[in-house]
Amino acid sequence: MVHLAVHESASGTVGVASLPCPDGQFPAVGRQHPPAQRLERTIADLVGLHPVDAPDARPWLDHGRWPVRHPLGPASAPGESLPPYPFLAAEGESLHQIPVGPVHAGIIEPGHFRFTANGEAVVRLEERLGYVHKGIESLLSGATLERAARLVGRVSGDSTVAYALAFARAVEAATETDVPARAHWLRALLAELERLANHCGDIGAICNDAAFALMHAHCAVLRERVLRASAACFGHRLLMDRIVPGGVMMDLPTDGIKVLRALVAEFRRQFPPLIDLYDNTASLQDRTVSTGFVRPALIGQFGCGGVIGRAGGRAFDARRTLAYPPYEQLAFEIPVLTESDVNARVWLRIREVEQSLALIEQILERLPPGPVSASLNRPGQPREGVALVEGFRGDVLVWLRLAADGTVARCHPRDPSWFQWPLLEAAIENNIVADFPLCNKSFNCSYSGHDL
């Protein structure tokens, strides 16, 4: 069976369409809707269902190196080795190719980029991903909720809070469990701390890729302060395994509110001068303004979420568009820009840092009393649940089916990067090779979250 999650922005309706595939195939959505193509290639690789009339029949995550084919479907021993991966062609005079990766020059995740360039100008970029495929969906099948929560919390380490939250909400939807109010508020607190830390790191890292190390150093200090406050309040710098189905693992300690208020105060002192620094450094703006432009029409077509979407005019934020508690009780803005370049993506992160600070202040002010977790209902029969939450990178979706004994029968965590990676190929077109790191960092897509 294949499932398709849909969202109609005009009416705000969401739904999941399911189609049984008794003859092992399904009509390819990717023919009409290109964003589905890589997902359908993945279904073919992992499950063995064939997308009929798919425009791109190449494998995607399967590099021909696993001991099985179709590990999530009718698993079979691998046959003859896969042929070399055919990259898409670019033809013309004086073109040359630059292969990059999978091992990259920085401290970053692995993936392969195939550039075709004419002198300095990139005429085509094609991504080849799947290097960090860990078989997470297969590990999730049959896992207890406790183990599954740990696994989903490590789909993409930088978004561990968002994934744990999406997983917990999907389990709670499947079991029809109500979570205490205080747990909702603490979850939002964790989510905003994660957003704050990552946005801060990204703003600095983008500037660093334009060789402006000063900004990077200052942003790294702020990021470190968030991680230290997180460790002081919740016992883990990246906040892994803090959100569990039913609530949160721990309450805020007695001095937690003081620690977090001090963190916000530090940001209010240190962050505005950094915004001025970015705004007043012409040589930096020279690199970021108009670089890595993505057509808003393409952003709409791909349903591209997160900073990339909102910097290109797509006003989607799951905290508002498909609001979940406690966000409907909190006052915050969803900043949206239309320039859709690296500069807009920096400014959007700056604005979102400000919003997260305001959210943290409100949560600390109004945190309701009470228990921080509830025991899950046990329906005693198979149930399905789905949840969408806004991580720092965009909307994280988790769909799952629980077996009658309460273990996970199937679970699919979908990273926002699925609909962002393809746009990076569009963003770099006609930019110079040297601006690729800037474009890439302004996207900051996840490899691990995508490769699963």
Partner: protein, 170 residues
């Protein structure tokens, strides 16, 4: 730009005191680090980071080593862009089947003498991802490992303790 630069001249640095090298790491390294190699390389080591399948959590903490609090370079460690410039490979993650060859080739491209530090619980034995069809397991399944720094992810102090042990072993 001048204002923040001047202000920083007047502030005391944020950098934390160096931790002592981890006893456990010293014990693990004890027999392995060649005295001659140590003399040749002195106290300056170039590090190449290789993500062989990590969730990216370890990378975030390795990044943090370079922030002003931990200031990795004060110890002579320098993160380099190519294995050909490296003395130490810092490898994270369960090694995935799809990254195995890339890791082997990165190791082969690193000149001798060299050390491999496996970072994180996944780097030790595959961690939570062990046992699936897509992961080979810990780093030691693919290349010889001289030192393990456990943690999920290890925090910067734990990473520093491990790396300092590399410099301390005589």
């Amino acid at each position: 730009m001048r204002k923040p630069l001047f202000q920083n001249l007047l502030r005391s640095p944020l950098t934390v005191a160096a931790p002592a090298p981890s006893e456990r790491a010293l014990a693990e390294l004890g027999a392995k680090v060649d005295r001659v190699a140590r003399q040749r390389l002195g106290r300056s080591l170039s590090i190449r980071e290789v993500d062989a399948g990590s969730c990216n959590g370890c990378e975030l903490e390795i990044h943090a080593l370079n922030n002003p609090f931990y200031d990795l370079e004060r110890f002579g460690f320098h993160v380099v862009a190519s294995p050909r410039h490296a003395d130490v490979l810092l490898v994270t993650g369960p090694v995935t089947a799809n990254m195995r060859e890339a890791l082997e080739r990165t190791y082969a491209a690193t000149p001798d003498p060299k050390w491999v530090v496996a970072v994180g619980d996944c780097g030790r034995d595959g961690g939570v991802f062990a046992g699936g069809y897509a992961c080979i397991g810990g780093v030691a399944e693919v290349v010889p490992v001289d030192l393990h720094v456990p943690g999920c992810p290890p925090n910067p102090i734990q990473l520093l303790e491990g790396l300092l042990a590399l410099l301390q072993v005589q």
